[in-house]
Amino acid sequence: MRINTGWLRDYLASDCQEQELLDAFMTVGLEVEEEFHLAEALEPIRIGFIREKKPLGDTGALYECQVEIAKGKLITIVCASSHPVETGWGVPVAVSGTKLPSGALIGEGKFKGIKSEGMLCLDGELGLIARSTGLQVFKDEAMLGASLPAVSPIQESLVEVSVLPNRPDCLGMIGVAREVAAVLGMQLKYPSARELNSQAGKGDAVTVEIADESLCSRYACQVFDGVKVRTSPHWLQSRLQTAGLRPINNVVDITNFVMLEWGQPLHAFDFDSLKGNRIEVRRIRNGEKLKLLDEAEVDATHEPLVIADGEKPIALAGIMGGWDSQTTTESKRILLEAACFDPVCIRTSARKLRMGTDSSYRFERGTDPNGMLSGAFNRAAELLQETDLSAARPASAVTDSYPSVKQSTQFTLSAARVSKILGADISGAQIKDCLTSLDMKVDDDLTVSVPTWRVDVNNEVVLAEDVARLLRYDSIDMKPMMATTTKGRVSDTDGLRNSVAGFLTSNGFLECRTPPLTTEQIALAFSQWPGDAIQVQNPISKEMTTLRQSLVGSLIEVAERNARRGASSFRFFEVDRTFRQNDEIDERWMLGGVLGGPVNDSAWIASEKDIDFLRAKGLVENLLSHLNVDGCTFARDTPANGYRGEEFAVISHSDQRIGALGRIDLDTLGIKDRARVPLYGFELDLTTLITVKSPPGLFKGLARTQVIARDISIVVPSDLHYAEIETSLEKAFAAAVENLETEPRKDAGADFALQPELESVICVDTFSGESVGEGAMSLTIRMLFRDALHTLTSGEAQQLMDYVVKQLHSEYGVVQR
């Protein structure tokens, strides 16, 4: 809601500094979205003098003016005739390109072929409430080109306040003024007496029938005749304009003005267009149609609540008036209406019809059936009768249908309870003072009657909040939390996630955050586990439709985006959930990584190597060992969509799939290769890893004997997997130990046994080529072994190696080189 503070002061009984007023908004909890001190915000508005004025076209509605905006500088401005202007007048001018505090940008317009380079600004258009005639006129030529605030003192501010949904009472000036007055210790000044003006006309009162009082708790109306429908005076027009409403005619303007003042929407029907001297509040009937003020047509599809006369619907209740019953300059008699509708009913209709108006906005949040008549209706009736407005006369009595009167809610507070919630010593007297200043009735035993405009007070804690607000939150001193000690801790998965991030950042990886909601293609590529896609029913773009099942796709996008920016080295990771619909929704924590490019970012070293499959695998192996996950295997498998088959492995832990590693296939993803180096992707399922990681390691002792290193070089068929050879080699070694004949030692007695253990098996070289022969590969494998108590002799070591080679030969026919 946009509030001009000059207008707001109409409702404050005493004066205060502008800044105090602005601070009060925040103190009391009215959220200020934007704040314009008009003296500053109107600085770009200049005083221009009208040098020439001639009618444009023959309607008499437009004038073409030559306006001098600086000494000797003339511009053309086309202005409408809503306010008279004369040659020789100095007026506020906004040249095209100026942004007004209302947010409107003055553009260059073309009217009947004439280019208009600016706008002559009325007070309301500038966000000001009208000074006198609504247009400030300067006669002193010395003011030519001066900035408006420099020649016309401006105190007002324009404040965009966001009224939170619990406080519809603050959707009107009076509600806001009540809050501000309470916190500034002022009195609220109502614009009119809050009792129904008993004047009634002689005509028959309109009959009102409410079909369902749960949907409309109160309906009041009165006929006025002799109505002069015309342009509103400037004090009224400018006030509407400061709030962002367009003046239409005085009757419509009065209903809008009173809505802005009281937060209660009103409507005025052209009474002569209605039939049967009767109003019904009911659901629309099958077959009925209603044309609205915005010329849209509503039918019975969503069964909205309507206002009907004796024959047909005439307005969409709480949302918008009807076209055929609108007040026009031709209207002679009008029917003024005020009502209180059920918020849920109005909200449901507005949602289904996709319509939102100033009126529905207020009804949805809740209006006050008691203030409706004595406040808003009464005020509008008075304004209609004013001679400089529509000079109307009541032509009937007020019909007031109010089947069950809404009573104010009562709560009995205790100072102890309020003090306990706030953590401060609050006395009964303080509570009483605070709540009384909000127009609540408070007895000495702290029984509080809450006025019916406060629809938010449904629990005593709200009253505790009111007390805290008015005492000001800053006055409540903090105090160290004295409560039962609780154990702070991270969850296991969270610990694992941080461990992963720590390892990867230490290895040169950059952590990314990419959207989990992505295109279907990226969301489903690289997926390792079964489960249906989860899609959103109401996406905002085709880039965000599906919850992803793998992180790799998004990271490939990151790599390619960086390649486009000239990157040549790629190491990216992300830890996040993936989503699958199985019997239940499976939210699985994953680690995704993408890497490629030089192993080291040292381009000046000519021998720098690029990352390949085995280097990527080495990194994943180290990560797994960092996480204390032992015994993982890498095996060939059918690759998930997006990986290339010849360089792909699934990673398993005792038959459980925990991840994958492979070279990215950009073609299947339809991504243009800008990286120009092989990219590798890997993924680990952290949710499963947490269940298979080993407990903290136990100390195994330190061997003091010498380790023996022996290499064997063998030629194997090239389709034999290294992992199989390694397994066989380990078995062969164990058998060799069984058959080992010990050699005598000086430092040991006759009966000692050797139990050498294989500490590691490392592939140190692979080679294939002509010298090895087709379909074969030469491997050099280094074995490190030792006995914990006795250093092996070279003879013993040779026995072991001979045995191992013999075994491998008999198993695979391998040849020792």
């Binding site: 619990n166 401060a424 709200v462 950042t505 950059l510 989503f579």
Partner: protein, 327 residues
Amino acid sequence: MSDNNDALVEAAKESIAAAQTLAELDEVRVQYLGKKGKLKSLQQQLKSLSPEEKREFGKTLNAVKQSIQTALTEKKEALEASEKTGPQIDAIDVTLPGVRSLPGHRHPLMATMEEVKSILIGLGFRYDDYPEVETEFFNFDALNTPDWHPARDMHDSFYTTVGNVLRTHTSAFQTRAMKQFGPPPLRAMTSGRCYRRDEIDASHFPIFHQLDVIAIDQDISFADLKWVLYQLASALFGEDVQLRFRPSYFPFTTPSAEVDVMFNGKWLEILGAGMIRPEVLQAGGVDSEQWQGFAFGLGLDRMAMIRHGISDIRLMYENEEAFLRQF
């Protein structure tokens, strides 16, 4: 004989001078003075000499041995001394860049999240994860926001299947935690992604991060909430941090507050907080007559942007290397 000896000493001295390292010097020593060294072979000749010649030759040998030994000792001292002063200054250009891969970096958002978490763990809050595909019940209804409530307009949700939304705020965890951990005292938190159908601009992204906290005990008050928030803020922004508490509205807390921090001379909104509504405690199975507590939630994107001076939220999701390397 003596010429021969002189030549031997000269050769030895040359070898000694040529030795560059202690190891090389030791090789020279072995070559001349070792068990199978050249001096030993000369000594062999003694056997075949007359006693007179023996004495004479012995003296000569001693002199030879002594001069070699002296040369060795001098050289050894020199080498040891030079080893202490380090290698030749121009041996390698130490100013060449090290061979390395560039260091990795955590995402500023995640670094901020971890920091906030660690502060709160120190204050006794437990961290757990909760679903992102959430039921409307936990996301809204349990938080005193029934279907017809206008406050739902503030959260334009993504719907997946009937009754499920992508959580619009981490506050959805509140009643889940209450139910899961049973009767208070309870101090719990969670953090992570939230989703709203917001248009993308410099300060909005449809997917963002929050961290939410609850504390429930017999008389945890608004004053306690202020204390905890000051602990958090001073750890993040420094001991002399200034906070401002403004009344606000959340359907699930009353009194509610927006909290601003003074940063670079401006008040910046950083979090929403308040006392948990009795209705919410009841929805979480907690007796609101016996227990009370506070809740607060903060936008981590905004927090990271404030801390690092990032002006546009979109930068955080574009993951440009030049961006990520700055934190």
